[in-house]
Symmetry: C2
Amino acid sequence: MGDIKVIEIKKSVYADNDERADLLRRELKEKGIFLMNLMSSPGSGKTSTLKQIIAAMKDKYQIGIMEADIDSDVDAVAIAETGVKAIQLHTGGMCHLDADMTRQGLEALEVDGIELAILENVGNLVCPAEFDTGAAKNVMILSVPEGHDKPLKYPLMFSICDVVLINKIDVIEHFDFDLQQCRQNILMRNKDAVIIPISAKTGEGIEEFTEWLSQEIENMR
Amino acid sequence: MGDIKVIEIKKSVYADNDERADLLRRELKEKGIFLMNLMSSPGSGKTSTLKQIIAAMKDKYQIGIMEADIDSDVDAVAIAETGVKAIQLHTGGMCHLDADMTRQGLEALEVDGIELAILENVGNLVCPAEFDTGAAKNVMILSVPEGHDKPLKYPLMFSICDVVLINKIDVIEHFDFDLQQCRQNILMRNKDAVIIPISAKTGEGIEEFTEWLSQEIENMR
C-alpha cells in the first residue's frame, strides 16, 4: 500500500481556536461537506467501526477519511482497502488536533467533492475534548472492556459528544459491564447524548448509527 | 467511604521538569521510598491490577497509593477497601502528572514510613509519557482488547516503560490479539522492556510481576 498519503501536521500558532473552528465549520457547510470528529481511548475500535460505517454509506455519499496518529499508517492502510479516499495525519507527538490542524488535514485530503469527511482523532479521552476541530458533530466510542465508569472519570469528553457508541457489545458477557449504569453515567454528563450499543465485529447497531448520521447530513444541507 | 482524602493538584509553574524529577527521585531514594508510576489507556485495568499487587505485597511492604483522575473518587475508594493508605488526586482537567504534581501527591499521602508508593497516572497513552514523575520505575498496562498494534501508534509510552503488563489475557480467545506480534512491536520500541502477560481478574502473571518489583525495591536499598 505504497499509495497512502502521510501528512506531517504542523503545530498551530493560533490562540483563538474556538473562532477558527467556527470559521472552518461555516466554510465546510457552504461547501456542503459534513465533517464528523470521531474520538475514543486507544483500542476502542475507531478504525473497525469506520470500516462498517463506510461499507453502509459509501454508495450514498462521497467519503473521505483522515486518520490521525502519532506514528504508523496501519489505520489509513486499513481504510484505503475499503476503496474510499484516506490519508494518514502524523501529529508529531501531539495528543490532539485543533481546528487549524484539522484544516491542514482537509487540504491534504483535497476535500472538494467529498460530502462526508471523517476525522479519526488521536486515541485519547482527555486532550481532544478540549479542542473544537470545526466538526459539525462529535462522536465518541466507549468500548465494553473499558468499563461503565468512564463517564465519571473523563467528564469533558462525554459532555461534548453528540453520540456515544458503546462498542464491543458482542463480548459484554465476558466483562463486568452494566449497560444500564453506563447509560446513566453518560446522561449525567450529557442529557442529550444519543447512545447506541454497537459491535464493529458483527455489525450490530451500525444501521441505527448510519441512519442518525445520514439524517444529520441531510439536516445540514 | 467518606474518609477518602481528595487533593486538588495545582498546575506546575516549573519549566525544568527533568531536573525536578531527578531531585525527587534522589530524595525518595534517601528516604527508602520506592515510587512506581503506573500508566495505561483508560479502562486497561490499572486499579484492578493494583488490587492484586497490593494483596500480594502488603504483608511485606508498607504501601501507599495515589489515584490520579480528572474527576471522581471511585478508584481511591476501591483501593482503600484493600486496607492500604490511598488518596485521590484530581488534576483539574490536566492530562498527566509531572514531578511537581507528583510531589504534591506524595506530601498529601504523608509518605514517611511508606516503602512502596504507587502513582496511578491519568488514563492516557500520550501525555503522561512526556513527563518524568520522579518515579524509580515506569510500568504500563496494555490490555488485550486494545490490540497488539498499540506500540506502533504510541511509540514514546512504550519506549519509556521498564515493564509492559499485557492485561486481560483471560479473554484473549475472544479478540484478534497476536501475543507474539505484540511482543515484537513492544521490543521494537524498547528492546529492554520486561513483558508479562497478566490477568487482574484471575491473578495470572501477578506473582511474576511482584517478584520483579520486590527485586527492584531491594536493589534500590
